[in-house]
């Protein structure tokens, strides 16, 4: 890449942005090592006790497993639904493909609170509130637009002659898709997987509407925990989650290049 001279003003602006974005970490990381029994910055004493405490908190561990399973199911479904949808939109180009594309991405433009309210009203009628299926359906509303978008872009940038070449060599349409199209979409698929997983795992607003005493996700459990007792446990948990997210991002970057996956 060309090294272009960066003005001092731009450097300062970038620095300010970084400080602004990382500021929460500057507070949260020290608190996670606090020896106090409530959140205070800076802590008056230090200890590691809040990390093991996470794993003995039944609510947190069950919410973690719920969130993990939920994110997994939502991601798999997003791929299973998003891939054929993107293929139909980009390759089969039905009439009104563009209008449909816009419609599928519309949920991203609505405030999540509005979506949450709408889902609450509809789901309560079918007894889907505070159920795992209900959570899956609600999360799909936000992950599917991402999945369709990223996969459609990945498909649209594939050179069609490559698939045609495979067909002339004797590959049936399904074989072309499996042996040529899918592998060439690798970075789009990894990107979609990571994005859907993180969006679902991190989702708070919709989940707040959809959870209850019977079932809770990790972000919701953390929210309630802070409401009831302001101990540093959530800070330690947050640090673990940041590390987990970083790992996912690193894996994506290593396997397909982050910029290539998300910046088109």
């Amino acid at each position: 890449m060309d090294e272009r001279p960066v003005s001092l003003a731009l450097k300062l602006m970038a620095l300010t942005m970084f400080v602004f974005l990382l500021a929460p970490l500057i507070v949260v990381v020290p608190i996670s090592f606090s020896g106090d029994s409530y959140m205070m910055f800076p802590p008056s004493s230090w200890s590691l006790k809040w990390y093991p405490a996470i794993f003995t908190d039944g609510k947190m561990t069950s919410a973690f497993w719920t969130s993990l399973l939920l994110a997994f199911v939502v991601t798999v479904l997003s791929l299973l639904i998003g891939l054929p949808a993107a293929y139909a939109l980009v390759r089969l180009k039905p009439r009104g493909a563009e209008a449909m594309s816009a419609l599928f991405t519309a949920p991203l433009l609505l405030p999540t609170i509005v979506l949450g309210l709408a889902i609450l009203i509809v789901f309560s009628r079918y007894g889907l509130l505070a159920t795992f299926q209900g959570l899956v359906a609600a999360h799909l509303v936000v992950t599917l637009p991402y999945a369709i978008r990223v996969l459609a872009t990945a498909l649209a940038t594939l050179p069609i002659p490559i698939e045609e070449a495979a067909a002339t060599l004797g590959a049936s349409p399904f074989t072309v898709f499996r042996r040529i199209t899918l592998p060439m979409m690798k970075s789009g698929l990894i990107g979609t997987t990571a994005l859907c997983f993180l969006v679902s795992f991190d989702e708070v607003v919709l989940s707040l509407f959809m959870t209850g005493p019977r079932i809770s996700t990790l972000p919701v459990a953390m929210y309630h925990h802070v409401e009831q007792q302001a101990d540093p446990l959530v800070a330690s948990l947050s640090v673990l989650l940041v590390i987990l997210t970083l790992l996912v991002v690193l894996v994506v970057d290593r396997t397909s290049g982050l910029a290539k996956t998300f910046v088109k």
Binding site: A165, A167, T168
Partner: protein, 365 residues
């Protein structure tokens, strides 16, 4: 590989291995390919030659089954393939953009067609090795297409198409993305391989030199229509239309008027099609025109006109005069032998040529 394909070719020799019958492709009201009739004998290399947009690629894609024909039939070896999907047509297509599989090594690219045909593992390994050697890429088996130069990618594309021994090899402007030197090299190589394997091939190009020098037969296309089919010699010596005369080789095209089958130009009469009247074009090739200084001994030739040298171009092997004859420029090309006097602009000259070197075409008014 070579032996087997040659044997197969010998077994099925004869006319019309590939037949196109009234092949047509319309996009809305626009005919990209219009009623194409063609017979390609087994083992021939046939060029589709024409300017950009004349329907060459569309024709090729219809033959390969990548574009459905609006009407007409495609028959190969007696079997009607018009409705057969691409993957069952058994044709090799080399794309202008090469279209290699970027996520596979060279060897895997070449093996792909054999895997689709469920060829045994050992045989795949052997044939892939042979095909890669055939295009001089041994040692590059494990490279990815992205690590190869344009010329090398072209060779992989060729090997990938050839290794399955397709019934017909289709090449869509395979040399257009290569630089001049590589183009000459690949031209000879493709020709050699095609001859050696005895494979029936169609070579799409907009470059008349490629078409004339490589191919057994040339199909000249213009605006979706077939203008003329013939050997390179046929096309050059007896172009049937003004378009072919203009597109294949260099030519002088002189505007004139015909009355009752006789065209008049600069005081000379030229035989046109019987009964033809109206505007015509008189065509004669620059190097078929003899030139002598005015007043010199009469040059042999059936037609004689006189003019004034307007421009002299000395290009070493060729001496070109642009001569003003009755207000139109007639170019004359003379092979230099050394020692000739180079005439300067303004010199009066007389030009002559033989009857069989002149063609008169009715001009679109």
């Amino acid at each position: 590989m070579t032996d087997r394909i040659t044997a197969a070719a010998a077994g099925q020799a004869g006319e019309g291995f590939l037949s196109l019958k009234g092949l047509t492709k319309r996009y809305g009201g626009f005919a990209a390919v219009d009623n194409l009739d063609l017979e390609v004998p087994k083992g021939e290399l046939v060029a589709f030659l024409g300017p950009s947009g004349c329907g060459k690629t569309t024709s090729l894609r219809m033959i390969a089954g990548l574009v459905p024909a609006t009407s007409g039939r495609i028959v190969v070896g007696g079997q009607d393939l018009t409705e057969v999907p691409t993957h069952r047509r058994d044709m090799g297509l080399v794309f202008q953009s090469y279209a290699l599989f970027p996520h596979m090594s060279v060897a895997r690219n070449v093996a792909f067609g054999l895997e689709m045909r469920k060829v045994g593992k050992d045989e795949i390994a052997r044939r892939v090795k042979e095909a890669i050697a055939l295009v001089h890429l041994s040692g590059k088996e494990e490279h990815r297409p992205g690590q190869l130069s344009g010329g090398q990618q072209q060779r992989v594309a060729l090997a990938r198409a050839l290794v399955v021994r397709p019934s017909i090899l289709l090449l869509d402007e395979p040399l257009s993305n290569l630089d001049a030197k590589l183009r000459d090299e690949m031209r000879n190589e493709i020709r050699d391989i095609q001859k050696r394997l005895g494979i029936t091939a169609i070579f799409v190009t907009h470059d008349q030199v490629e078409a004339l020098t490589m191919c057994d037969k040339v199909v000249v296309m213009n605006q979706g229509r077939l203008e003329q089919v013939g050997t390179p010699v046929d096309l050059y010596e007896t172009p049937r239309t003004a378009f072919v005369a203009g597109f294949v080789g260099r030519s002088n095209r002189l505007k004139a008027t015909a009355r009752d089958g006789v065209a008049e130009f600069a005081g000379e009469s030229f035989a046109a099609q019987a009964g033809l009247s109206g505007p015509v074009e008189i065509m004669v090739r620059p190097h078929r025109v003899a030139l002598s200084a005015a007043g010199a001994d009469v040059t042999a030739g059936d037609h004689r006109v006189s003019g004034i040298v307007a421009r002299t171009i000395f290009a070493g092997d060729i001496l070109q005069y642009d001569v003003d004859v009755a207000g139109q420029i007639v170019s004359v090309e003379l092979a230099t032998r050394g020692g000739e006097t180079v005439l300067q602009p303004g010199a009066a000259v007389s030009l002559s040529w033989r009857r069989q070197d002149v063609f008169v075409y009715g001009a679109a008014a």
